[in-house]
Amino acid sequence: MPIRARSVLAAVFVLALALTGLQVLGLAPPVASAGTQLLSAGVQGALPATDPASSLWDDATPMTLPLSAQMAVLPMRTTPSTPSVEVRSLNNGTHIAFRITWADATKDNRTTLLQQFRDTVAIQVGDSAALPYLCMGGAGVRMNILQWKADWQADLEEGFHDLQDAFPNFWVDYYPYAIGGPPYEVPDAFPENASQYLVGYTVGNPFSQPLKVTAVEDAVAYGYFTITTQEHQDAIGRGVWSDGVWSVVISRRLDTGDPQDTPISRNNVLAFAVWDGSAGDRGSRKSTTTWVPLLVIAPRSTEIDLVPLIILLVFAIPILAVLLRARKGEPEPPKPQPPEGKRP
């Protein structure tokens, strides 16, 4: 039986209508992804914002991204210290969370000693409408960077890793203006004048603050080596190292309202970077991905947004009417004629 063009058209139309309906209901992604986009799955309720082990992550599509050594600017790595990361994302319509997982044989979460460098992972949030250069944007192009640091988390969870923690046999009799007695814990023993001898701390350097508020630095950059901690910190996160694997969650609001942050909506691109502390990674000695488009899928909602449905119907009804009218006006096929001689 020959397939008529009109039937095909109608079938496509009905399929499109159904797909659009499902999308409106949050039951299908806006476009199909062929593994080139990072899908942020929509979920209802609270996100596992600091829990990389949550079963909710099973609902997110994993994406494996290869890492390259940063070789654009000096100092650089000549080979990547980490070959790849697996990234998953979840969102609940207001917040978004990313879980980044990578292999790392050593847990480097201290920076107290001269030779210690931290394990770190960062997400760089860009806007695909004005795609900036990969590393920290460019002159006049703002880049929002969310950088989780293993030592910041250790300070948060275990208390500031003080001198006596790194050097257990350490002893001191006196620090100028410090109060209390040995080992003079930071920062309590160093008020007012005593703090003048902790210069980075006194001038407010975020890296020198013994009392951390987050393990994720919310930073801004305008090109190479310009990364600067923002005044307003909008990101949280937590990492777990187990059996040679880091699993780190970084999360924040989709739109923080902070003008220094890049809002996350439909047209974002992301890049990821990993630093392996025991490999001497720090600063520009890192391994990075290329830009990855992010697709934020709205969470399923019990309340149906009527506006898209109305728009859909406004367009669909006239088209359906045209199709039906065309069908009515079609000449009926000729009825089979009875054989001669059998006319009643």
Partner: protein, 384 residues
């Protein structure tokens, strides 16, 4: 990378940034012959700047016994090993360095050739203190100069280099060289503790703070310098080995400027390891009792000349009164000297504004008193 002129190498070299000399450049000359290794400079600095928590191991000023002492451990031999033998072309005048600087020798992926010390490397501020260069036997080595058995004290602070390796290495530009006086500082707000500077500085004068987790270094006591006062390590020098001032490039040298006179006019003061390429701005008068080969390694091909000039002055006191005059002004005042003059038999020092601040006789007057003083009924131990 830019091409910059390094007068200590008598040639251009590559550097991270274009040549941008400060309006003035702080400097000092250390007369090693006078250093007694008392560490008063070390403690003056320590008690002023590095007595905070996290700075326990830090000595922005240190004095190490050469040839064995070093802080951090092996700082000099390790960078010399990486830099390779220095190749000086002594046919030219001044001699030209034909080897590669640490900027030109940077390995792939780095801006500077260097190495990152570990905590234990800093744990011995003066290991080898007072040890001699070789075993002492029964010979009377002290009767000849240079001596067969020797050691000497090397006082060191940040060189406040014209081409600092720390500045070149810092990817964040958190280290800067002040335009007004050439002092090199680390912005304590901007530093993120990468320690690229600690790795890059061949003199190892940048140190990591264990508590604030950012890097720190000698600030040449800039609050004092801004008032015309010498840094703490200089003005507290018991041996009076140091003279503080401002140095110019050779083409702008002022023979009445005490530093220029020692560095450019008499060439008795030399940079430490000039072949590394940083154009350091602290200078040394080499110790005359030490083997020439060792001094050439440390101070370059002009070490022999410097030793000869100094020896001549010592052996013939009247031969070079101007040089004596400058050296007598060392730590004779806490003011930074801009100019000096030899007036009659007195060395006169002027501050940077031209105001006389010190006057020292070339020959101190001697007074002799009697052992017994019947007027007050005492017997004196010291009569001169």
């Amino acid at each position: 990378m830019a091409n910059v002129w390094n007068w200590q190498l008598n040639r251009s070299m590559t550097y991270e940034y274009a040549e941008s000399r400060p309006e003035t450049q702080v400097s000092a000359v250390f007369d090693i012959n006078k250093c007694i290794g008392c560490q008063t400079c070390t403690m003056a600095c320590k008690t002023t700047w590095t007595s905070g928590k996290g700075q326990e191991y830090m000595f922005w000023n240190s004095v190490e016994t050469k040839p064995w002492g070093s802080y951090p451990m092996g700082w000099d031999v390790r960078i010399l090993d990486k830099a390779g033998p220095a190749a000086w072309d002594e046919v030219t005048s001044p001699p030209t360095f034909r080897g590669k600087t640490i900027f030109e020798k940077a390995p792939e992926g780095d801006r500077v050739e260097g190495w990152l010390p570990q905590d234990m490397d800093w744990a011995y501020p003066n290991r080898g203190e007072d040890e001699t260069n070789g075993p002492i036997d029964d010979s009377l080595h002290h009767l000849a100069i240079p001596q067969a058995i020797w050691n000497f004290y090397l006082a060191r602070i940040c060189m406040h280099c014209t081409y600092p390796a720390c500045v070149a290495a810092c990817p964040r530009k958190a280290i800067y060289k002040r335009k007004e006086d050439g002092i090199v500082l680390i912005d304590q707000e901007r530093c993120r503790g990468y320690r690229e500077c600690v790795r890059a500085c061949p003199y190892k004068r940048v140190m990591y703070n264990h508590v604030t987790r950012v890097s720190e270094k000698c600030i040449f006591c800039y609050p004092a310098v801004e008032k015309g006062i010498q840094p703490r390590c200089m003005r507290n020098c018991i041996g009076k080995i140091r003279i503080v001032g401002y140095v110019h490039p050779p083409d702008r040298a002022d023979p009445e400027n005490p530093i220029d006179y020692l560095v450019h006019t008499t060439k008795v003061a030399l940079p430490l390891y000039p072949q590394l390429g940083l154009e350091p701005n602290m200078f040394y008068i080499p110790p005359i009792h030490v083997g020439a080969e060792f001094l050439r390694q440390m101070f370059g091909p002009r070490a022999d000349h410097a030793v000869q000039v100094y020896k001549n002055m010592h052996e013939n006191p009247g031969s070079n009164p101007t040089l004596r005059a400058v050296l007598l002004l060392c730590v004779s005042t806490d003011k930074i000297l801009g100019k000096f003059k030899l007036i009659g038999s007195e060395a006169v020092g002027y501050d940077v504004n031209g105001t006389e601040v010190v006057r020292v006789p070339l020959q101190e007057p001697t007074y002799t008193r009697d052992f017994q003083d019947p007027a007050i009924g005492v017997t004196r131990h010291n009569i001169t």
